[in-house]
């Protein structure tokens, strides 16, 4: 059997047809169902996206036809599995525009990517008295690993404040970058507010002070065209499952010189060159950081997801989502008692809000009865909720398959919630 034809497609293929949400919707099997007797309106893509059939099929095809371990087998299946796995890496490289596939490390997700950097780069480079700068809008995954690193090394965690609209206080952030700053870690796009941060400017300032920059791209990757070389970030992480790919696979991009100088993450098979009981020498990049049998099917699925979104065109997806964000913002503002949380000028398609006299959890349950899936809670950003003095918000997050009708159903459901609790 030859390799699947789609693996040879360029990752940034031009959109073949104009963006048609109704047709795109048909690509996602999960969306064709009813919930509580109502057509499903899925508005929780910031938690995880639904998967197009091409992704599901690519994973099934891998297990049905090519399943084998990678990198060591001399037989045909092993060869195909290795080609599929490394083919996916090539797609990721093109997707983020990295200089080399050596800079693309497969991990379980954005969380593991950050933990990898904190425990290897961090322990090798951060000393007592050094500073790590994060922001008030970070997800717990971009807080806790740095907190732990600070506890282990005696470094200090600094937090850049945000405005009421949910934008970074840039001047205060820049004032916090000093000669002790070793790393600036921030979200490219906030999961709870939707804010897209001015990362290029921050990276420039951090580099001028000699600090390295890690961007948490978990929310940005599905909404923005990425170019790590144009951004000049040092590390970039994202998760496959928020990019229409499977769970359990994600990417750490790191500049080659940095990755090369870092000690390994986990020890085991595949990450070594030679092992004796006295001494181990390590494999080349990126394998040095990929101990054990990797999530091969996950990488194959992520490759298929990248082909899928690239086929639609990141620009076309972003334009579609932007128009839904504008429409949704206007529609939600008409709901009496509704307050949007996060009104940055630069935003991805995330609508976080509270409703007077209705708790976010009750909003979630009422909407669920209308077939509308949203998230209610602290969105893994407890310090951010504290910043706003809120225990929780409700969050509707938009994916490429959402339509104006979805937003209208959401707004109608919110009116129902008001009626019920008013």
């Amino acid at each position: 059997m030859s390799r699947a034809a789609d693996e040879t497609l360029p990752a940034r293929a031009a959109p073949a047809r104009p963006f048609d949400p109704a047709r795109v919707r048909a690509d996602f099997p999960t969306l064709a169902q009813t919930v509580h007797g109502k057509p499903l309106v899925y508005l929780d893509s910031a938690a995880t996206t639904q998967k197009p059939a091409v992704v599901i099929d690519a994973i099934a095809r891998y297990y049905r036809c090519d399943n084998s371990n990678v990198h060591r087998a001399v037989h045909a299946l092993g060869e195909r599995a290795t080609q599929s796995y490394e083919g996916a890496r090539a797609k990721v490289r093109a997707f983020v525009n990295a200089a080399s596939e050596r800079e693309i490390v497969f991990v379980r997700g954005a969380t593991e990517g950050i933990n990898l950097v904190a425990s290897t780069w961090g322990r090798a480079n951060v000393r007592a008295g050094d500073e790590i700068l994060i922001t008030a809008m970070e997800h717990h995954s971009n807080i806790v690993p740095w907190q732990r690193l600070c506890e282990q090394t005696g470094a200090r965690l600094k937090v850049a404040p945000i405005t009421a609209a949910g934008e970074l206080e840039l001047e205060e952030l820049e004032a916090l970058i000093g000669e002790r700053t070793r790393l600036v870690a921030l979200a490219h796009c906030s999961n709870a507010l939707g804010t897209i941060n001015p990362v290029a400017r921050i990276i420039e300032r951090a580099h001028a002070a000699g600090a390295v920059v890690l961007l948490d791209g978990a929310q940005a990757a599905p909404h923005l065209a990425l170019d790590v070389r144009a951004l000049d970030c040092d590390f970039y992480v994202f998760s496959g499952h928020k990019l229409y790919g499977p769970t359990g696979i994600g990417v750490l991009y790191g500049k080659e010189a940095l990755l090369d100088a870092m000690p390994p993450y986990q020890g085991g098979g595949d990450m070594i060159r030679t092992v004796t009981f006295e001494r181990t020498t390590y494999n080349d990049l990126p394998y040095k950081f990929e101990a054990g049998t990797p999530h091969i099917a996950g990488a194959v699925g992520l490759g298929a997801a990248i082909d899928y979104v690239s086929g639609l065109g990141l620009e076309a997806i972003a334009a579609h989502e932007r128009s839904l964000l504008e429409y949704g913002t206007a529609l939600l503002r008409e709901v009496p008692g509704l307050t949007l949380v996060g009104t940055a000028r630069e935003k991805a398609a995330i609508l976080s809000f509270t409703l007077a006299s209705v708790h976010p959890h009750d909003i979630g349950t009422v909407l669920d009865h209308e077939g509308v899936a949203v998230r209610a809670g602290h969105h893994c950003a407890m310090p951010l909720m504290q910043r706003y003095g809120l225990p929780a918000t409700a969050r509707a997050s938009i994916g490429l398959y959402n339509t104006r009708e979805d937003i209208e159903t959401l707004a109608q459901g919110l009116m129902r919630a008001r009626e019920l609790f008013g």
Partner: protein, 147 residues
């Protein structure tokens, strides 16, 4: 909307809108506990005055969803004037009602909480106040968490 009313019964909506015994520091309170549901951010502070094994006064304060607020409000109403043993029997009865298909015999008004059982993600909202009560009656100093 119809089956949603099985969860949000009129009694629950009413106790959410106008929670009973919703205040802080009742006179001479001698039992207290704090409950927390980290998943939804619900916080609950419960204070009681227990004399000769009888709950003479009870008050709660905090922020939560309709289910957790109504459950706390209904609880305070139902335990005021009861003995500690009676309150613990109610605690077990509500717990069974919410988690084990309990019949809810002898629970009176608290029966309205039965609708929550169909919503597994919301059961913790309804049990928070009751776990906090259990801790307060034991006067355990550590905050109660649903997680």
């Amino acid at each position: 909307m119809q089956d949603l009313r099985a969860l949000y019964e009129e009694v629950i909506l009413d106790h959410n809108r106008r929670p009973r015994n919703f205040r802080r520091h009742p006179d001479a309170a001698n039992r207290q506990a704090v409950g927390h549901n980290p998943l939804c951010g619900d916080q609950l502070q419960l204070e009681l005055r227990v004399e000769n094994g009888v709950i003479q006064d009870v008050a709660f304060d905090g922020a939560g969803c309709a289910i957790s607020t109504a459950s706390a409000s209904l609880m305070t109403e139902s335990i005021k004037g009861k003995t500690v043993e009676e309150a613990e029997r109610l605690y077990r009865g509500v717990h069974d009602l919410l988690t084990r298909d309990g019949a809810g015999d002898g629970l009176g008004k608290l029966q309205v909480l039965a609708g929550v059982r169909a919503y597994p993600t919301r059961v913790k909202c309804a049990t928070l106040a009751w776990h906090t009560l259990e801790a307060a009656l034991r006067n355990a100093g550590t905050p109660v968490s649903t997680e």
